[in-house]
Symmetry: C2
Subunit: 205 residues, 2 copies
């Protein structure tokens, strides 16, 4: 029992260290992780098979743990997708540097797959063709990933220019800035995606 | 003149080296860039003020150069946005590791700003409120960034599970795989975004 507790504690410590390295350096190497933990790479390998295993555990810890999985409680599927998307973006935005690592690995984490299973069930129940369920999930996924990167962007995404760019200048003056721009933009695009999906289901698009 | 030609050549070499470092390591440090170029960090600083300047020049080279800027030739704005988005995603997908670097810096590159000015003009001309132009641009931007990461993802984004996840398993069996999944998913989501925007313009959403 003591051995097992120690081991669990170490995996947690490795994941803490991995997140620190990713947040700080924008990538994850076993060498930097070992340095961060004050240990050797071989000690890390003693607990976890490597980088891919660490990324999967971080997917579970950062994304799955914070994501609001659709409850399939009979409430409107559009609201359920919207809530899932808001929580997904917020979870990803905590560690934007983790995002490219998440997309470069096949998802195997059980908690994450269970969340997608719920979303698939919800879309299928809403009338989405079996062949299109994964296409819509990928589209929503892409939007959440990109919006999380956008949320981590500087307050001014575009610098107002000295050149003659009147349409961009007008748009920059009229729009909200910083976090409000990111939030309103995410909401407006998500609503559009859902309107488009509804129109597709009604045979319109 | 000789001096100037040499200098231009060096900036190009620095950008080549920076892209190699980013593709290889998933980040850009001046130390690794200098090592890649077989020179010192101070030699790099002699030509370019630093990391942010390099990222802006890469934004210009990788994104602006490959992006199809809306020609504002009177053809349907929906088609123009769709073509812009397809070319934007393709440009970003060449160097997925560059994406987080692009989003963490304020855009100042002239060629890139001019492209956004065209998109702003197109949306304004289509009837989008001045206050919402940048919100829609951000939403499209997020979708292109996320879809470019998705395009660089492994053939199997989700591993079929041994657990009881029937809806996800059905979706995985029925959907196209690999590049086709990524392309069809991008297209279906982009169409939905544009349907949603059109509905918003007609006062429906």
């Amino acid at each position: 029992m003591v051995q097992r507790r120690k081991r669990l504690l170490d995996v947690d410590k490795i994941l803490d260290g991995a997140l620190t390295v990713i947040d700080k350096y924008g990538r994850l190497t076993m060498t930097e992780l070992a340095a961060q933990l004050g240990t050797s790479a071989s000690s890390v390998y003693h607990h976890l098979s490597g980088r891919a295993a660490i990324v999967e555990l971080l997917r579970e810890r950062v994304v799955a743990a914070a994501m609001e999985v659709p409850p399939l409680d009979g409430t409107d599927w559009v609201d359920q997708i919207a809530r899932w998307m808001h929580s997904y973006r917020a979870a990803l935005a905590q560690h934007p540097n983790l995002i490219p690592l998440l997309t470069e690995h096949t998802m195997t984490a059980g908690g994450v797959l269970r969340g997608y299973d719920r979303v698939a069930q919800l879309l299928r129940g809403a009338g989405v063709d079996a062949r299109e369920v994964l296409l819509w999930i990928s589209a929503f996924d892409s939007y959440a990933l990109g919006a999380a990167l956008d949320l981590a962007a500087p307050d001014d995404v575009w610098r107002r220019s000295v050149d003659d760019l009147p349409a961009l200048d007008e748009a920059l003056s009229a729009a909200p800035r910083g976090r409000r721009r990111a939030d309103e933009s995410f909401a407006i695009g998500l609503r559009a995606l859902l309107v488009g999906l509804r129109e597709r289901l009604s045979g319109g698009a």
